[in-house]
Symmetry: C2
Subunit: 333 residues, 2 copies
DNA sequence: CTGAAAGCGCTTACAG
DNA sequence: CTGAAAGCGCTTACAG
C-alpha cells in the first residue's frame, strides 16, 4: 500500500504539482473549471490525503499547540484542558497535553520536546522553576501563555483566578455563619505556587476584615500523602478550628476522607468549604459548599490569547487576566 | 531571532551536514573525537534544536500516536488515557487526544486529520459507525487498536473489560445480600455500543443463574439528560426494583442525584452498585459498592500493543484482550 | 572516518 | 490560467 502523493495526483490529472497544490489550498480564483474537476476526480480515485508534515515543514506552522500542565490530577486542570481543546478545535488546531507532574525537570523536557516538534505555541501551567527557559521563549518572542499561575517578574500573559477573592468569599461565608476559628489547608507551597500563596493571603485578609484572629498554626501546607496526619494534628490543637477552607479539590477530598474515617459530622463538628467545584459537591451528603472557578471561560481565554499571539494579531494584552470566583452555597457550612 | 539549522551547525563546526546528522543520531562509532567535540561545541554555542518535523518527513515517523475517545466525560476514559500517555512517554512517543463526543462524524474527522498529520498509529474507542474507515485502515495495515469497545466482525485488536463478568459480579452480590428485584440502568444503546450490551447480557445471565426473574421493564437505557425521568418511571412501576446496577459512572451519578433529591436512603430504600470505581466511592455516605475496571493496566496494554504494531514486532496478538473486573464491597448494598 | 548529492512531500514566487 | 524550479530542514546510501 504505497502512499499516494501530490505527484501521483498531478500525473493522473495531467496537470502540474503546483496546480494541484493551488487547488488544495483553495486558491482557484482563476482556475479553469475543467482543471478543477480533473483534479477533484484524481484525488477521489486515488484516495489522496495530503501529508501535513510536509506542508508544515514548508509553511513553518504545524497547527498544533502544546499544553503543559503542572498536575493533571486536579479537576480544575482537566476542565480547563478540555476548554482549551474545544477552542483550538474550532480554529483547526490540535493540542498535545503533557503532564509535568509538578516536576520542573519534566516540564523542561516537555518544553524542549514540544518546541522540537515545532508546535506553534505553548500554554503552560508553570511549575515556576524554569525561569531561564521561560525567558528564552520570551526573548525569541515565541508564543506562550501561562494558565492558573504566574511567575514573579516574568512578563508572560497569564490567565488566572482572582485567588485572593476566592479565599475571601469562603472566609466571609464562614464568618457570616458565625464561625470564629477558621483554618486553611493547602497542598505544598514549597515551590511558591502563586495561587496557593494568594489564597492564603486572601484568607488572612478576610479574617482580619471580619475581626477574626489569624492563628498561624491553623494554616497547613502539605503534600496530599501527608494530609491525614496534618489534619489529625490540626484538629488536636488545644483550641482547634471549627471550620476549614480547603485550598483545592485534592485537599477537600482528604478532609472528607478524614471526616468520614473519624465519624465526624459536617458541618456540626467541622464546617468545610472547598475551592474548586468538584463533581460530587451537589449530591454529596451533606452537599458541599464550594468556591467555583470559571474553568471553561479560563481555558477558552487562554486558547484565544495564544491563538492571537500565534496569528500575530498584536492585540494589546494585559499582563494577566483575572477571573471572578463564585461561591456555591450548599450544606457543609 | 532566526532559527538555527543543521547547516549553521555544520558551518560553525567546519564539517558537513551529514556528519552533524550522524552525530545527532548517535552513529559515531567511527567518528573522530575531535569532530565530536567540535560539533558538540557548535550546538551549544548556537543553541541548536533539531527540527523534528523535517526529520519526520524523511523518516516517515512522527513518534506521535493519536487517541480518539468516544466520550471524555467518563472517568474510565480519563484514567485510561492517562495510562496510555504514561506508557507512550516511556517510549518517547507523544499523544494527541481527541474527543469524538459519541459522534461518528467527529470521529471520522479526527481519524482523517490525525492520519494527515502522519501519526504513527491510532488507539480508538470506536463509536462503531465508521466501518468503512476502520476497514480502510485495516487494508492499509495501518496500526490501530480499539479500546473499551469492539466492532462486530472487525478484526482489530481490542482491549476490553470482561463486561459480562462485571455485571455478574454485581448481580451475584445483590443476590447474596437477599435482593430479588434488581434493575439495570445504562446510557443509550442506540449505537450498539458493545460494553453496554455485554453488561446487560451478563446481568440477565446472572439473574437467571441466581433464580431471579428478568423483568424487561427493569432495564433502562437512556441519555444522561433523560435519566431523571427514566428513574422516576422505573421506581414508580407497580412492583419497582429494590436494587439498581448502574452501567457506568455517569449513570451512577444520576442515580445518586435522584436519590438525594427524593430523600431516599441507600441501601434501605434502594441498593446501588456502579460499574466504574468513581473517585468519591470510598468516602461518599454511604460508601458506594462498585465494580472496578483495571484502567491503568488496560491503557498500558493498549499502548503497548499499538507500539508493537508500529514497530512491526509481529507478535501474535489475540483478537481481544479481556480484563478482569473487581468487586469493591462497600456500604451501598 | 567524512562529504556530495538526492530525496522526503509539499508550497510559492515567478515567468509566460 | 498553469508549470518549472527552488527550497523547507533533515537523513541516508554511497563513494572515497
Amino acid at each position: 500500500m504505497k502512499k499516494v502523493t501530490i505527484a501521483d495526483v498531478a500525473k493522473q490529472a495531467e496537470v502540474s504539482k503546483s496546480t494541484v497544490s493551488q487547488y488544495l489550498n483553495k486558491r482557484y480564483d482563476y482556475m479553469g473549471e475543467q482543471t478543477k474537476k480533473r483534479i477533484q476526480n484524481a484525488i477521489e480515485q486515488l484516495g489522496y490525503q495530503p501529508n501535513f508534515v510536509a506542508r508544515s515543514l514548508k509553511q513553518k506552522s504545524t497547527k498544533t499547540i502544546g499544553v503543559i500542565v503542572a498536575n493533571i490530577l486536579h479537576n480544575f486542570t482537566t476542565e480547563v484542558t478540555r476548554a482549551i481543546e474545544d477552542a483550538c478545535h474550532g480554529a483547526d488546531f490540535h493540542t498535545i497535553i503533557c503532564n509535568a507532574d509538578d516536576d520542573p525537570v519534566k516540564e523542561k523536557h516537555y518544553i524542549e520536546m514540544l518546541r522540537a516538534k515545532q508546535v506553534d505555541g505553548l500554554i503552560i501551567f508553570p511549575t515556576g522553576n524554569n525561569r531561564d527557559l521561560y525567558q528564552q521563549m520570551l526573548d525569541a518572542s515565541y508564543p506562550v501563555v501561562f494558565l492558573d499561575r504566574n511567575v514573579e517578574e516574568m512578563p508572560v500573559t497569564a490567565v488566572m483566578l482572582d485567588n485572593q477573592r476566592a479565599a475571601e468569599l469562603a472566609v466571609d461565608h464562614f464568618a457570616e455563619k458565625g464561625y470564629k476559628r477558621v483554618g486553611m489547608v493547602t497542598t505544598s507551597i514549597f515551590n511558591h505556587v502563586s495561587p496557593r500563596l494568594e489564597r492564603i493571603e486572601g484568607y488572612k485578609k478576610a479574617l482580619n476584615r471580619n475581626g477574626l484572629t489569624v492563628h498561624e498554626d491553623y494554616i497547613i501546607s502539605a503534600e496530599p500523602d501527608h494530609l491525614q496526619e496534618s489534619l489529625e494534628d490540626l484538629l488536636h490543637l488545644d483550641n482547634p478550628p471549627e471550620a476549614i477552607l480547603a485550598g483545592n479539590d485534592l485537599v477537600l477530598i482528604e478532609i472528607l476522607k478524614y471526616v468520614k474515617h473519624k465519624g465526624l459530622k459536617v458541618p456540626e463538628d467541622l464546617a468545610v468549604i472547598g475551592i474548586d467545584d468538584v463533581s460530587f459537591a451537589s449530591f454529596y451528603t451533606p452537599s458541599i459548599t464550594t468556591v467555583a472557578q470559571p474553568t471553561f471561560k479560563m481555558g477558552k481565554m487562554g486558547a484565544e490569547l495564544l491563538l492571537d499571539k500565534i496569528e500575530k494579531k498584536d492585540k494589546k494584552m494585559n499582563p494577566s487576566y483575572r477571573f471572578e470566583p463564585k461561591l456555591m452555597v450548599r450544606d457543609s457550612v
